[in-house]
């Protein structure tokens, strides 16, 4: 049982990071990025390509892939998403689904459809803590998630950029009237969101093998986590991710691995039915005056 929970927690970290990117982008720009997972997959392939050229160390490739994620997010936003930022949700949905399909197809052409193995960040044999086995790489995943979450919370809550992001998420016109450069805020948000996704991809690849479809499950799990967070709460996204990770792993173990995704979907439906604002989200109310 303890082992199941702990390995669920590791998956949960990845879901949490991916969800954090989703929620960050949704909160600030009001858009749900369905291409989040595919963009992350491309970043993982970029790291893989750099590693294969063998001029890069693992960490060099890792950092380069993160830089690529940020750039990719910025380009996708500026070239495509920006034009639908004031459009209806349906238009935005079609746009991000379009990016999803285009990126998926292009990645298949470039890197093929055969999954390959991807190195871990930290090699080493599993060791036992209080009867639960854990690998150094899993500890790396945990620590990375914790540090990234903390950095993001501090940025969001205590910095000038964070203030601009939070203001923009509430009222774009008013934010502009405060002198906030809303386009710059959106660019930073997309860069940050894509980096979080990209890191989730890099952490996922060693577990699932590197392939063009590797982020499907992660994206759905991240959506579930984001729903738990009401799509607005940043801490909720991480905690939601951890919960979903543990939940999925328990279902896999005690019922069947195929049922993990089904049950997670059922969980999304139930949460949306009972608490549409999410478990960690708060209902957005404006006193009508």
């Amino acid at each position: 049982m303890g082992q199941i929970v702990v390995s669920g927690l590791i998956f949960g970290c990845v879901y949490g990071l991916a969800a954090l990117g989703l929620v960050l982008i949704f909160r600030t720009t009001g858009l749900v990025n369905f291409a989040h997972g595919e963009m992350a997959m491309v970043s993982s392939f970029v790291a893989f390509t750099l590693l294969s050229s063998s001029e890069f160390s693992y960490y060099g490739a890792f950092l380069a892939a993160i830089a690529f994620s940020a750039l990719f997010g910025v380009v996708v936003f500026w070239v495509l998403i920006r034009h639908v930022s004031q459009a209806s949700h349906l238009n935005q949905l079609v746009m991000t689904l379009g990016v999803f399909l285009a990126v998926h197809g292009a990645a298949g052409l470039i890197w093929g459809h055969t999954p390959t193995s991807f190195p871990r960040a930290v090699e080493g044999k599993p060791f036992s803590i209080a009867g639960v086995f854990i690998t150094p790489n899993e500890i790396f995943v945990l620590v990375t998630t914790f540090i990234l979450s903390m950095i993001l919370f501090v940025l969001f809550r205590y910095t000038r950029v964070g203030l601009a992001m939070r203001a923009s998420s509430q009222d774009l016109i008013a934010a502009r009237l405060m002198g906030i450069n809303v386009n710059a805020v959106f660019l930073v948000t997309w860069a940050a969101g894509s980096v979080l996704g990209g890191i989730a991809g890099l952490l996922t690849a060693p577990f699932t093998f590197l392939g063009v479809s590797m982020m499907f499950n992660v994206l759905i799990m991240a959506f579930a986590a984001a729903v738990l967070a009401g799509f607005v709460s940043l801490p909720g996204a991480v905690i939601g991710g951890l919960m979903i990770g543990i939940f999925g792993n328990l279902v896999s173990y005690y019922w069947a691995p195929e049922m993990a995704l089904v049950c997670t979907f059922a969980l999304i439906v139930i949460v949306l039915y009972i608490r549409p604002q999410g478990i960690f989200g708060e209902a957005q109310t404006m006193k009508k005056v």
């Binding site: 509430q170 016109i173 008013a174 005056v289």
Partner: protein
């Protein structure tokens, strides 16, 4: 300090402003009156940089600022307090005021200015840690004005500060506007409540269908028969 010269503006194919010329002298209150859809709010949006005029010029202290970003104008002391207040509902009163000083990076007087806002509006001080969404309409208007003051306006563009607010609070807010003006801030005031606006302003413009239909010192405008329609309309 501010001069609009033959400004025209389109929203798509709708011709919102058809050649507006007006002037706000340093330290004065100028009111902008007119029926709904006459172009009052659009005029403010052009001045603050929310909208880019199709033709004509906006001059601030002689320098053309037409089409500049809101951020540039905020830095130059042109602060737009928008229609419908638009306070940030999830921010506390204090956070709303802080974001009003967003452009003043590293400015040590921000704290003192916040105290000044609280001196104008003691109710805001009482509700400092409350979320803006929980404030009454009048308090939200006070917060919107206070937030604008945090940007250190040389020229304050105020859009319908009396809209949907209890008459007693309207009086209070207008008195404070006069005090803000006496402290050296020029005000361009858009109002449906023509009576109040004329009373506190030095000069008035009446807009009709995107043009200046009537203008003059407020004391003279008050006497004009055309204004009757405005009272009825407003």
């Amino acid at each position: 300090m501010l001069k609009l010269d033959d400004v025209s503006l389109y929203y798509g194919r709708v011709h919102a402003l058809r050649g507006i010329s007006l002037e706000v002298p340093e330290g004065r209150i100028v009111s902008l009156l007119g029926a709904n859809g006459a172009g009052k709010s659009s005029t403010l949006k052009v001045i603050s940089g929310l909208c880019v005029p199709k033709s004509g010029d906006v001059r601030l202290k002689g320098e053309s600022v037409a089409g500049r970003s809101c951020g540039t104008l905020v830095k130059r002391g042109v602060i737009h307090c928008p229609e419908g207040r638009r306070v940030f509902p999830q921010f506390t009163v204090e956070e709303n005021l802080r974001v009003g000083a967003y452009r003043r990076i590293g400015d040590k007087n921000v704290g003192a200015d916040m105290d000044r806002v609280f001196a104008y509006f003691p109710r805001l001080k009482e509700r400092q840690q409350q979320k803006a969404a929980t404030l009454s309409g009048g308090e939200q208007q006070m917060l919107a004005i206070g937030r604008s003051l945090m940007g250190r306006p040389r020229l304050l563009l105020l859009d319908e500060p009396s809209l949907g607010i209890a008459p007693k609070l309207v009086m209070e807010i207008f008195e404070i506007l006069q005090r803000i003006n006496e402290a050296g801030t020029a005000i361009l005031l858009v109002e449906q409540n023509a009576h109040m606006a004329i009373k506190i302003s030095d000069y008035s413009y009446v807009l009709e269908n995107g043009r200046v239909g009537l203008e003059g010192p407020s004391s003279a405008i008050r006497q004009r028969p055309e204004l009757k329609e405005l009272y009825l309309g407003g």
